[in-house]
Symmetry: C2
Subunit: 669 residues, 2 copies
């Protein structure tokens, strides 16, 4: 092993101003906020005002008993419903706002406040209301929508079961049709099939959208949803047993419960019959023949929940970043640059590295979320509704939900640590932010399961067969294709082709392009995605060709499957950020967003630079150059940092943290 030789390239400490001619932009906070708020600025401001009005609830959580806090949360939800905030996505005829995009924007913004309120809103209006609206027909709409939109009737969404979790198709609750009485009989056959973690179930819901195996004359037709009364005037109805899930890590303002059904009878019309029907005499009818396809079509209507949770994660991260960034320019620690004065935290290189790439990534995810929310709006408003569009939307929603919620967990943790011991005091917001958001990575689809869904789409082409396939089938299917076929079907393949035309130069293209060229950054992420998808296809193929069990092969390559889906998701996020920035008129805002976009792109590449080196896409010298550039971009973003987080528009009342944010040299102001 040779003695290490000093390497010029990495040891150079750049002089404070490396970029001659670089002029620091000024961030007009209001203008940047307008860019972020976009089309739905008005709705977002309504939610901000509601949050500020009910800010006391952040304090109540610390003091009230669980029972009292649940009532308080319910009251706030109903009061917010009265302002129209929570009903944006329902038809105007039933008291809603008739604008799906607005409902997403409202929900996202609500995540800046107490998250029990957010989740209760999600359960009532998103899950329960969404099931009635999307899976039901006019009878159900007329019977329930007006009451649920106003909050007069509370409902819950009884899908998840203790023993099945993410595998909804395998759930055990049965709804057997009794032709004699023209009723469905709903039964929980064993404890593995009890409904579990059901929000709104332990205290408030009077109705439940229950997912069960529909059975007629002993024949199973798969999972369907039914409207089932479970409480009346606060009393649990006969045949229904409800147990409180008890204390949770967070979200204790939401009353989660377990439900068992013991032969509960509901009329034939209780079946939410948008996609299937049972005639009075007991004939099962559906416009969708394939049971698998029918199942995924029903589930697909619930995609809005995933889009909402992803957006909520991103917005909760904004709260944490606003507090930590403001704290970092007030708090002084140790004498670093001068013996007389301690240095503010954000002037430390390490502190910049910890916080600023997270600010950049929050902007990136915000714009990616804007894209998926827009797609949702178009598809569900019927503007661009086709099979392929739905599959693309579902995949994109899964991708954004996974990245957005992991980002929340990571960002809130980093911000907590960056505020030291003070970050541990409940008043300073991180306690609730951490505890409440932690389950976001798991609910509305476990992130790993969601990324597998994304990968399935990539491997088998969205338009086609994938919703019909389980993992075994998928592995067999992919094994039956040429790898090239798999790759050529992906949208990224066409993009990679066009990158080749754009950046000619054979193998050296990545050496010549500038690090700050968005085409270079995108080309890197596109190459990674295409290569990973191809790699998974080859691995599946080879394993099955060798005669191994397809499921075992899939299990063994699972980390590659997840990695490919992540690579795909990251590419979508960067594309959204680049497109948003490019569309802005020239000026300081654009310069600032370009800095953030570069910081996001290069820190994303940096995080996986090992992979790029392993696959010949980065030399070690260029890899080091990327790390240096990330450091340099952090220093450029540093003076803008407070304005950039202020542009998130988190209401001051939601920050609390008096001691973190108003501290001066001699104590709290």
């Amino acid at each position: 092993m040779p003695t290490p030789v000093p390497e010029k390239s990495e040891d150079e400490v750049p002089a404070p101003t490396t970029d001659k001619g670089y002029r620091q932009p000024e961030v007009d906070v209001a203008a940047m906020r307008a860019v972020l708020d976009g089309h739905y600025a008005e709705v977002r401001d309504l939610v901000r005002a509601n949050l500020a009005e009910h800010a006391q609830i952040l304090r109540d959580e610390e003091k009230m008993t669980t029972a009292d806090f649940r009532e308080r949360v319910k009251d706030v939800v109903v009061m917010m419903a009265e302002t129209g905030q929570t009903g944006m996505g329902f038809p105007e005829a039933y008291g809603g706002g008739g604008d799906i995009g607005a409902s997403i924007a409202a929900f996202e913004t609500l995540a800046m406040g107490d998250l029990s309120v957010l989740v209760k809103v999600g359960v009532q209006f998103g899950l329960f209301g969404g099931a009635i609206l999307q899976l039901g027909t006019k009878t159900h709409h007329d019977a329930h929508l007006a009451d649920l939109v106003s909050g007069r009737t509370m409902g819950c969404f009884a899908m998840t079961e203790s023993g099945h979790g993410s595998n909804v198709q395998a759930l055990g609750t049965v709804a057997a049709y009794d032709t004699a009485t023209q009723e469905f009989v709903i039964t929980t056959p064993d404890d593995a099939s009890r409904k579990d973690y059901i929000g709104n179930a332990a205290a408030h819901a009077e109705l439940a959208a229950v997912f069960a195996q529909l059975e007629v004359d002993g024949e199973r037709h798969g999972v369907h949803a039914f409207v089932v009364p479970i409480r009346e005037g606060g009393r649990v109805l006969d045949g229904v047993r409800i147990e409180d899930c008890g204390p949770k890590m967070g979200l204790n303002g939401v009353d989660n419960g377990r439900i068992w059904f013991d032969g509960v009878r509901v009329p034939r019309t209780a079946l939410l019959n948008q996609f299937a029907e049972v005639t009075p005499e007991g004939r099962y009818l559906s416009p969708i023949d394939n049971p698998n396809k029918r199942f995924f079509t029903m589930l697909g209507t619930l995609v809005q929940g995933r889009v909402c949770v992803g957006g909520a994660g991103i917005n909760a991260a904004k709260v944490a970043l606003t507090i930590a960034t403001r704290y970092a320019v007030r708090r002084r620690q140790f004498e670093a640059t001068s013996p007389e004065e301690e240095q503010v935290l954000l002037d430390y290189g390490m502190h910049q590295r910890r916080l600023l790439p997270l600010v950049a990534r929050t902007y990136a995810l915000h714009f990616a979320q804007e894209v998926v929310a827009g797609q949702l709006h178009h598809v569900f408003s019927g503007e661009t509704d086709d099979e392929h569009g739905r599959r693309m939307l579902e995949s994109r929603a899964a991708a954004t939900k996974a990245l957005g919620t992991w980002h929340a967990t990571r960002t809130i943790q980093e911000c907590r640590e960056a505020c030291g011991g003070a970050g541990y005091i409940s008043e300073n917001r991180f306690a609730a932010l951490k505890a409440d958001t932690d389950v976001f990575t798991t609910f509305e689809g476990d992130n790993h399961v969601l990324l597998q869904l994304v990968a399935k789409g990539l491997l088998t082409d969205y338009a086609g067969e994938f919703e019909d396939m389980d993992q075994l089938g998928m592995a067999r299917f992919v094994a039956g294709l040429a790898v090239e076929t798999v790759v050529e079907r992906t949208s990224v393949h066409k993009l990679v082709q066009s990158v080749r035309d754009l950046l000619p130069g054979g193998d050296t293209w990545d050496q010549e392009a500038g690090l700050l060229d968005p085409n270079y950054q995108l080309a890197m992420l596109r190459f990674r995605e295409e290569h990973m998808i191809g790699g998974v296809a080859r691995r599946l193929k080879r394993g099955i060709d060798q005669g191994q069990n397809p499921g075992a092969v899939f299990s063994r390559v699972q980390d590659h499957v997840i990695a490919a889906a992540r690579a795909h998701s990251e590419r979508l996020v960067l594309e959204a950020f680049v497109a948003k920035t490019a569309a802005l008129p020239d000026g300081d805002l654009k310069v600032a967003l370009n800095l953030l976009c570069d910081l996001h792109a290069l820190s994303t590449i940096e995080a996986d630079r090992a992979w790029f080196m392993e696959h010949g896409r980065l030399s070690s010298a260029r890899s080091k150059a990327i790390s240096r550039e990330v450091g340099s971009l952090c220093r450029k973003v540093r003076p803008l940092a407070v304005d950039l987080v202020d542009a998130f528009g988190v209401p001051e009342e939601m920050l609390r943290s008096p001691e973190l944010l108003t501290w001066t040299e001699t104590g709290p102001a």
Copy 2:
């Protein structure tokens, strides 16, 4: 850009049994536990028995008010004190056990239970008791030790101030000597100097070890500690003001408070005078002339707290891993290998990748902790007490504390997510584990600040000047040295030299050595450490040579400083694991530990493989080979996983999680 070519090396799906001749070891759980428990098995079992006896407290936390829970925690602490468990580190003459090593083992094991109890024990016996024992002399011992060891007198450790945090040397509380009355007058000059986050202060402490600037005749002599009564019979004394810190993210069984002193008078003998004295007539005397050195000597006696917190983090991680691993072999999810049966989670490749390297790392950190606890015992028992030994111990304690507590945060989070929604229910332990351990990364020294301490030692040589230097001074000092001098002073340099002799072959050494050769693994970590230390020295030197402000240069290279300290810490951990394993007699236990040691070493290298590629120590082919080997090791560890976590010896009562752990195909058992 070329079309991706299938690469043999990465696409190979190895057949289920790649290693011909590999025989799966059997893990004798009791024997493995004996290896882990080591010399202090008896003490650890005493603590396990105490934890089981007081297991009800895990449930009480969910139901009691904060005020009641604080009393409950205090009662448990006193009951545990009666068994001798918490006083192991005090002299037998005062009712202690006279064995410092035993006190560390007891504290670590206590981390398997309720962590408010742990932290209250740490405050009372470690911090407050430690200050009296280490900084005080016989007068103080006679006056206080017997009462504090028994828990009859509760005390607190009033060091941290709101405005200064980690910068203890800059704290603002003043203790001015009044010659006329022979008293110290203790004053909080401003709100930035109030004592903050002080455990035991809000409700229970009668005495406080107060850190303040000692002033005689207007002359400052630096920070010293004083015993100050703050409560009597539950009433706060005149001149003392105490405020409750209010609800916290976790550890709400510990009464944290803020303290202000308004001219509180204590006798001259209240000064804990092990290292300095003020004579009745007001002369300041100390055997240590240099005030900086005196300060670090005093602080150094408190190193035990850091050793304890690091160990606590590692043991809290064991609880999470035991639950998540057992759950992963019970819980089935989706039909993967057969259409008839859902597959257990731990048979999924991704799930193995998520959990098993964390199991391996927990073993690694456990043995590294054993080494530092042993060093502490030797130094503080006076067996090997010299200046250099103390510095080495302090550095090692800082390194282990940082890695151990970050490991806890990361592991508990991963385990929570690996248990899905069920992991979010408080009964299943993760809620408390997460919330309570979160502050471990911050208290007893913020991890980043600690790693800077480690780096200072590496850069300036432990034996010498480093305790006298602030960051400016350190940067100037390093800039004045030849880089080679810095590197040659480090212990790793000698190790790298010997590796060269061991593995000749010039630049190709790493290509030829087997991945599973511990010498190869250690050589990689040693090379990284040496190179990073050299890199930091070169960067500091160059910046200062260019005329930049030393503090600014330090700030800019801060992430490299932290990285170098981490690399050093990782090397120490791996060395401890390799040494432990090598010393075992041949047999199945050794085979199993070798698997874990390989898994830990290679996943550590894998995590930083980008750096190794950037610095010419890994080819891309070999880097991929390491990732494949990690996957293969996970599959080999998989059948042993439950036995390996059971060997941690977490009492069953501490696992709770009835639904996670006793679930069967048809519901909870």
